[in-house]
């Protein structure tokens, strides 16, 4: 767990330290002088009538831990398989280290993949699995032994070297798969739902371990996952995909705080979405009419909207305050009735129904014991938030 | 009331046994009867006839030696019959039930006496010879007009066989037919049971072995008829069957059969009743039915083998009756030889020799 703190700091350093020293921050995507390791240029992939990837462009930089996030069928696995060489783009090109990789077969690419099923060779021992790729390279025997030992050490599998895959646990298999795919020291490592088969506790530990290993080896990781928590935890940047299109590419915090569209806002974390029409009141500030006979909501926004344009306010539940009296000086305050309370231990989420039927969630930290909770079911309460709390999105 | 019940039971019992008794099971060689005779037998006698066929004496013999075959009438060749009699496989015939036995041909019965003295266990069904079937045109093409088609030299002289190999020669895969023929060809006793004499047959086959396309006991019928081969050592009736097929097909192949002048083996297929036959009465009825002059003639007219039935001759097709290859003349008949069954020790020598001749091992 020591590693966890370390990596969290690495991951979030982008934001934490941004104001301090921009040149020390790991954010090559912000540096126009950096050349990306991987470039997708207008890539489209069709299977018959079905378009899996739709005119997609994306840059991934060296040493990044890049996550492709989306529901199943969004095209993220197809992207990964194109990188590995198991699929070829129908249109567009994929550049790896300045070279178009379309004509390069999978076995000639400096890319390795960790399969969702791990795809360990059942007839080979753990060490032979790890040595498999090295032997294909024609590496001298001694070097292979050293490299395998190194990989076993890295993944803490020394004790299991001579076992067969069916003789070890799921978590151990996962580490063997990782060790095997890292053994060849690829420029790029692809991880297809690497933690999908593990139970939750083990998954969390392994997430940090993955980050640890990524850091130690300095390899560029591209991970495919449908689990947003996993993506947010491990990745330096996350690409949210839907129906073969890129919805947003950003660091986890930006993705959460500044979703660019309703899809991303809704997909990442918990959110209240309130639809309405915008009216510009000043530079970057708007009033949104969302319900008749109720005052408009105030919101600031970087997104430029014209008056009368349809829009959606996205507000995270933890940014909504709950009180029994109407709060003074709040930018936005609405009244409603508590319909449901979700007790999460450290937090409670209140599901509040407004007069027009709109449900809004508010989250508070449980700083007091439950018996002394201020609100209960069917209480009439006020919900309030500041003009900067929400994000104003088009549509 | 009591009376009726008793009657009913008796009637029931009668039908039960009657149903069993009505079945007659016959085991004969394949393609060896005019099948119209089978339905005719059922109509005349009221028995249900179950007619099965076999194609080798060995198969029949194994059933006879094991016992419990379930057949009422079987038709082994005389040499095999003799051995089977000695192990008690057959029951003596009841001549009171075979009035048609008077139709039998004494000349044939005299010859079968060596296998079954006084026809105690069997009567002759048909008889024939083992000779040479050939394609007239193809043999002439290979060997010229003077081809020795009436001599064993045709198939045992390597000079002739070398020329015939091109058009194809089959031998019977039956050592008890082929080895006596070879011994006869080199002037030895064809019926010798002396292993040293029998061994002499090897050299006869060794000379011609490379020219023999196949050893088989039935395929030669079709092969001759189609013109795939030009010569086959085979059984008279089989060759006639090939001749008939070729005529029917009108394929330009002209087949004939010859009994070599050196002599040929004469064999007899005998009807007999297994010792454990379920229905001896039915068996006698079937034999008696076949011994009927007209029925016997019908069978011969169909399969072209000579009948052991003298009275039948008046009904036999003159074409067959006057064909010396089927009914040999006195001179040829005198030249025919018969063989006796080998005992186990000699049989082993013969089988082993035959394997060596065929496979070289």
């Amino acid at each position: 767990m020591m590693g966890a703190g370390l990596f969290l700091s690495v991951i979030f350093s982008g934001d934490v330290m941004a104001s301090v020293a921009a040149n020390q921050v790991f954010a090559p995507w912000n540096d126009p002088k950096e050349t990306p390791l991987i470039e997708f240029r207008g890539v489209t992939k069709r299977f018959g009538d079905f378009t899996a990837i739709d005119d997609l462009s994306i840059n991934i930089y060296e040493k990044e831990f890049f996550a492709l996030l989306g529901p199943s069928g969004c095209g993220k696995t197809t992207m990964m398989r194109m990188l590995a060489g198991f699929e070829t783009p129908t249109e567009g090109e994929i550049i790896l280290a300045g070279q178009d990789i379309a004509p390069v077969p999978p076995n000639k690419r400096a890319v390795n993949m960790m399969f969702q099923s791990y795809a360990l060779f059942p007839h080979l021992s753990i060490e032979d699995n790890i040595a498999f790729g090295l032997k294909r390279e024609g590496m001298p025997k001694n070097d292979i032994a050293d490299r395998v030992a190194e990989m076993l050490r890295l993944t803490r599998l020394e004790k299991f070297a001579r076992r067969k895959p069916h003789q070890i646990s799921g978590g151990q298999k996962q580490r063997v798969a990782l060790a095997r795919s890292l053994a060849k020291a690829p420029k790029l490592l692809l991880l297809d739902e690497p933690l999908g088969a593990l139970d939750k506790k083990l998954r969390q530990d392994t997430q940090f371990e993955l980050m640890d290993i990524q850091e130690k080896t300095g390899t560029t990781f591209v991970i495919v996952t449908h689990d947003q928590e996993e993506a947010m935890t491990v990745a330096s940047r996350v690409a949210v995909m839907d129906h073969g299109k890129l919805m947003q590419v950003a660091t986890p915090d930006r993705l959460y705080e500044n979703p660019e569209n309703v899809y991303v806002a809704d997909f990442i974390g918990d959110v209240n979405l309130i639809e309405g029409t915008a009216r510009k009141t000043g530079e970057g500030s708007y009033e949104i009419n969302w319900c008749e006979r109720t005052p408009p909501l105030k919101s600031t926004s970087d997104t430029v909207l014209s008056s009368g344009q349809g829009c959606t306010i996205a507000i995270r539940p933890e940014k909504v305050s709950i009180s029994s009296e109407k709060p003074e000086e709040a930018d936005n305050a609405v009244q409603g009735k508590i319909i449901d309370i979700a007790y999460l231990g450290n937090l409670s989420t209140y599901h509040v129904k407004l007069a027009n039927g709109q449900m809004v969630k508010a989250q508070t930290a449980n700083t007091r014991r439950i018996s002394r909770r201020s609100f209960t079911w069917d209480d009439d309460v006020w919900l309030s938030w500041t003009a900067t709390a929400g994000v104003l999105l088009k549509g | 009331m009591k009376y009726t019940l008793l009657n009913a039971t008796a009637a029931l019992a009668l039908t039960a046994t009657g149903a069993l008794a009505q079945e007659v099971r016959v085991y004969n060689w394949s393609d060896y009867i005019d099948e119209d005779l089978l339905t005719q037998f059922e109509e005349e006698t009221g028995y249900d006839l179950i007619y099965d066929v076999f194609d080798s004496n060995e198969l029949l013999e194994t059933k006879m030696l094991a016992g419990g075959s379930g057949y009422d009438v079987v038709v082994p060749s005389a040499t095999f019959l003799q051995r089977q009699i000695s192990v008690g496989a057959f029951q003596p015939l009841d001549y009171d039930m075979l009035p048609n036995a008077s139709n039998l041909w004494d000349d044939i019965s005299d010859r079968t006496d060596q296998y079954d003295p006084d026809s105690e266990y069997s009567v002759n069904y048909m008889w024939g010879t083992t000779g040479i079937g050939y394609n007239i045109g193809k043999v002439e093409e290979a060997l010229g007009e003077d081809a020795p088609v009436d001599s064993w030299a045709l198939v045992f002289d390597p000079a002739n066989m070398a020329k015939l190999a091109e058009c194809g020669v089959y031998f019977l895969d039956a050592p008890t037919e082929m080895i006596p023929a070879a011994l006869n060809y080199i002037g030895e006793d064809p019926d010798s049971h002396d292993p040293e004499v029998i061994a002499k047959a090897e050299s006869v086959f060794a000379g011609v072995r490379p020219y023999i396309q196949k050893f088989h006991s039935s395929e030669y019928i079709n092969a001759l008829a189609n013109g795939d081969i030009c010569v086959a050592v085979g059984w008279s009736g089989d060759v006639f069957q090939a001749q008939y097929s070729a005529d029917e097909a009108d394929n330009g192949q002209e087949i004939d059969y010859s009994i070599p002048v050196e002599g040929a083996q004469m064999w007899f297929d005998q009807m007999a009743i297994p010792e454990d036959a379920p229905n001896p009465e039915g068996a006698h009825a079937f034999i008696n039915f076949i011994l009927d002059a007209e029925n016997s003639a019908a069978a011969t007219n169909y399969v072209w083998y000579a009948s052991g039935n003298f009275a039948a001759q008046q009904y036999i097709d003159p074409e067959i009756l006057d064909y010396p290859a089927v009914y040999p003349d006195e001179e040829t008949l005198a030249n025919l030889f018969t063989t006796r069954p080998y005992d186990a020790r000699v049989q082993r020598v013969v089988t082993r020799l035959w394997t060596k001749i065929k496979s070289g091992t």
């Binding site: 077969p105 076995n107 060779f121 795919s181 | 006879m64 094991a66 000695s86 192990v87 008690g88 196949k214």
Partner: protein
């Protein structure tokens, strides 16, 4: 109840293997005789114990000794082994690609393909072997076809040669080879091959290093299922083989039918079984290993 269930396969083994084998073995110890049945001595239950000891004393291993005195027998065993090995190899050569194709076929086709493999069993084995005579003979379909193509001028002589025997065996036993290999290949996770390619294998080396070793159990099972019955095969060599095709099945037939020597025939059968027991045990081991690996 559970014991009863365990007893069933043992009863099966006893009734269908051990008892018949003991009968054959007993006959192999007796002497040929002109009698019904044609061997000696016999013992009837009602003759009692003293007769039994006389009976047992009369049994001996003479027939096995006899088998060693004539080179025919060991030559026939060797020749059968050779034919079985060669035929098994060719069956594998033909069967593996078929099994591979089936396992790689779209899922919805597989039941149909499986059906097609099993379909020939619906016709009598004898008829199917006979059909090959029509195909392979001098004027058969194969020669007609090749001559029509102009590949050959004169008909090939295939029928009545060992080549025809191999063709017959490969054809007849092909399903026994395909099915176990197919079931091994079907279980093979496609991602293993992708992983192998990803780690630097060409398609061919991936096949050789992954597909082949993982289908090994199926290959071994298939080979035994073909090899074991082929050694004793009688019908195929007698219908398609030539006079010089030497196989122990034919020798057995001749001992039994031509020589009427049931004791020697039984001895041949017992020795054949002893020869087969080695591959049968190996096969069982392989199966067990298979189950353990899966378990």
């Amino acid at each position: 109840m559970k014991r009863l269930l365990i007893a069933v396969p043992y009863f099966w083994l006893l009734a269908l293997f051990l008892v018949p084998f003991l009968i054959v073995f007993k006959i192999s110890l007796s002497d040929v005789a002109l009698a019904r049945p044609p061997y000696f001595p016999q013992w009837q239950f009602e003759e009692g114990w003293s007769a039994l000891t006389d009976y047992l004393r009369a049994l001996d291993f003479e027939n096995f000794w006899f088998l060693s005195t004539d080179d025919l027998y060991w030559k026939a065993y060797l020749s059968s082994l050779r034919i079985a090995v060669v035929a098994t190899f060719f069956t594998l050569l033909v069967g593996f690609p078929i099994a591979y194709g089936m396992a790689r076929a779209p899922l919805e086709w597989r039941p149909t393909l499986m059906m097609l493999v099993i379909l020939p069993f619906w016709t009598s084995f004898l008829i199917r072997v006979y059909a090959w005579i029509g195909i392979l003979s001098g004027e058969g379909y194969l020669n007609q076809f090749l001559m029509w193509l102009g590949v050959i001028q004169d008909p090939l002589i295939i029928l009545n040669t060992n080549v025809a025997v191999y063709i017959g065996i490969v054809y007849t036993y092909l399903p026994f080879m395909i099915l176990p290999i197919y079931s091994a290949l079907e279980k093979l996770d496609e991602s293993l091959l992708e992983a192998a390619e990803d780690l630097g294998c060409s398609r061919f080396t991936a096949f050789w290093l992954v597909t082949f070793p993982l289908s090994k159990q199926g290959i071994i099972a298939g080979c035994f299922l073909v090899f074991i019955p082929t050694i004793g095969e009688f019908v195929i060599p007698s219908l398609l083989g030539g006079s010089s095709t030497l196989m122990i099945g034919k020798v057995l037939w001749e001992e039994f039918f031509n020589n009427r020597d049931w004791p020697v025939a039984s001895a041949v059968a017992v020795v054949l079984l002893l020869i087969l027991i080695i591959p049968i045990i190996l096969f069982q081991r392989n199966e067990q290993k298979n189950r353990e690996a899966e378990g």
